[in-house]
Subunit: 203 residues, 4 copies
């Protein structure tokens, strides 16, 4: 295997392409920031695919999760980019986490989950309030199914209480979000490199 | 209008009919408990319908939310019955709440939301852990969009940490869950009666 | 008893008097808004009193919770005003809720908690992000121990992501927060009146 | 420095010594499990010390946080062991996190927080429900202030819904909790070793 980790960003917007999406935007920004550390990867907009509700690796009958799952398993880094609704992660984000829950049973000969030695990060956007909690929900779920988390492994933007502007419509990139994304990506890339070469020991 | 409030239970299981579902079961138990207070109603299993991701009242193109929405608007009581996944509400539950978010903009001539004077309750099941938080997420979302909440307005069952038995497979009904359901239903019915006859004043 | 409900606001700031506190400010604004509906009451800054950690009604040894508890029991409305730290309710807020947890065991001859027929409301401030989740945590806890919640029973203000201005230092009152406080107070007062005269029936 | 990482466990029970505490017990079990990987350390019962509410590194006037803080900064691993109240972390746990929030401003010459290259883990106990959410709250807060999190970096025990037995009173150690603690400790020790020798690069 090459020296550089790879990344998959899953955008959990509720809106299909070609609609503009703030969570696609911040997800792409995270991927670009990873790129400055030699990490290559791609962004998948989950709702453009026919992913089914469920908690198995394949719900059958045309379920398109298996294709996305292959990308998750092939990548060293998983970034969940999600919008906020009602101060909480989107339903699409929850659907993705439920599908990842199946990895609890997918262990190798030495009892390690398929997700071990992978690093998760989170990127959250909403027009107001909810980023910390959304991050908490996602980090807990992903850590539960085997992902590690680097120092300051998340980034976000939200506006002032009850205002309505979207991240994608801001006239200027918010400097603090940009520098937070930069830090999160640098740390995530570093941790992914460490775990690629020196993974967790068997149980 | 008749004297008695009506109720709608939305089961947010991930599994379609005819699969057995614990959240359908506890939802039906809640409806039965409401029945002893003269409340009639029905249970809808959301995932049996083609409800789309989105935050409007009608996403078009065959979206079946509008039919469910009519039932929500016609009822005095909305019970959300949801399974727990990863300690959190199901994605289907989140999808329902996102659709209800549209009611923020659906106000009458006096600025009151379509949901005003309705009471929300929550029924949660999982094989282990997560009921309080799931209740918190749902109550906050529903209160935000205009529902009131009666004293002790929720019920739940979960098993011991990391065990795997489902509510529907218990050999005996857990007495504490049954009495909690009874209390939640009694209080919810009482509050719904009060708000039917003496609703919130215009802003 | 008189016709008008009474209210107690508990400010859960971490800072003692005479420091300025945003959660005292928004708590007072909520009390003033209740006042326009004939509700009288007072605000208590919890941290100015020697309240002990614990889950009983009186931890002894100089514990000052019992005095505050008497005010809670005497009021029809309890407003929890809390700052946000790390996107979550303050430790003082959690300490208050843990003390209220004791009310689960304080029931009258007919099995109703001491808190029944009381209405809870929440007012949250932070310089950025966390209001919805903080509201969720508090509403769930208070509903669990017997308080009812009126439609739109909370208010809040937070600034843009990672900015540092406090609510108390804003040059102008944020109009949306003010109107949200107005609505929350009106609905809370209405519900408190209903439950004072027509309380929950015995179990 | 020696080859082996060191650990600090902070038990966030509400009860002072010499009362028995389930969160002290599970915290000690976590420390013992770390010990099998060559990690030495100690457990501090926070409530036995006069820690003040606040968000600075030293609130003055006899505040005993600075002594605990020194231990945090000296250790490679921080384990937060907390009871659950109302499905949420204890107030003492929140107080600890608020004090750690001060580390956001404590950066070295290269902009890295004092907590960088440290690993956080969580151990949660309650007689029923709330472990996943409590873990989420703690992991998000600690990751926010610079701690990394190893794969499956938490452990917990809770009983069946609304039952009242404490972890410390169980007749037999729950096997699943024990094996979860073992895994969490092994992974946390591994990650701490990696970050000790190959820390995050400067920003």
């Amino acid at each position: 295997m090459s020296d550089s980790p790879t990344a998959l960003v899953l955008s959990c917007t509720l809106k299909r392409s070609p609609d503009e999406s703030s969570s696609v935007l911040i997800g792409q920004e995270f991927l670009d920031a990873l790129g400055t550390h030699g990490v290559t990867g791609e962004l998948v907009r989950v709702v453009d695919h026919d992913v089914r509700f469920g908690v198995t690796t394949d719900e059958g009958d045309g379920d398109e999760w298996p294709t996305i799952r292959e990308k998750v398993l092939a990548a060293d880094i998983l970034v969940i980019a999600t919008p906020i609704w009602m101060g909480q992660p989107s339903s699409v984000c929850k659907m993705v986490m439920e599908r990842l829950d199946a990895e609890l049973s997918e262990t190798d000969d030495e009892g390690r989950m398929s997700t071990y030695n992978k690093v998760a990060a989170v990127a959250v956007v909403g027009n107001e309030d909810g980023a910390h909690h959304t991050t908490a929900e996602v980090l807990q779920g992903l850590n539960d199914v085997g992902f590690s988390v680097a120092a300051n492994g998340s980034t976000y933007w939200v506006g002032e209480a009850m205002q309505g502007t979207d991240y994608q419509d801001l006239e200027q990139k918010p400097e603090k979000t940009t520098s937070t994304t930069t830090t999160a990506a640098a740390n995530t890339a570093h941790l992914a490199r460490l775990l690629r070469s020196q993974g967790y020991p068997p149980a």
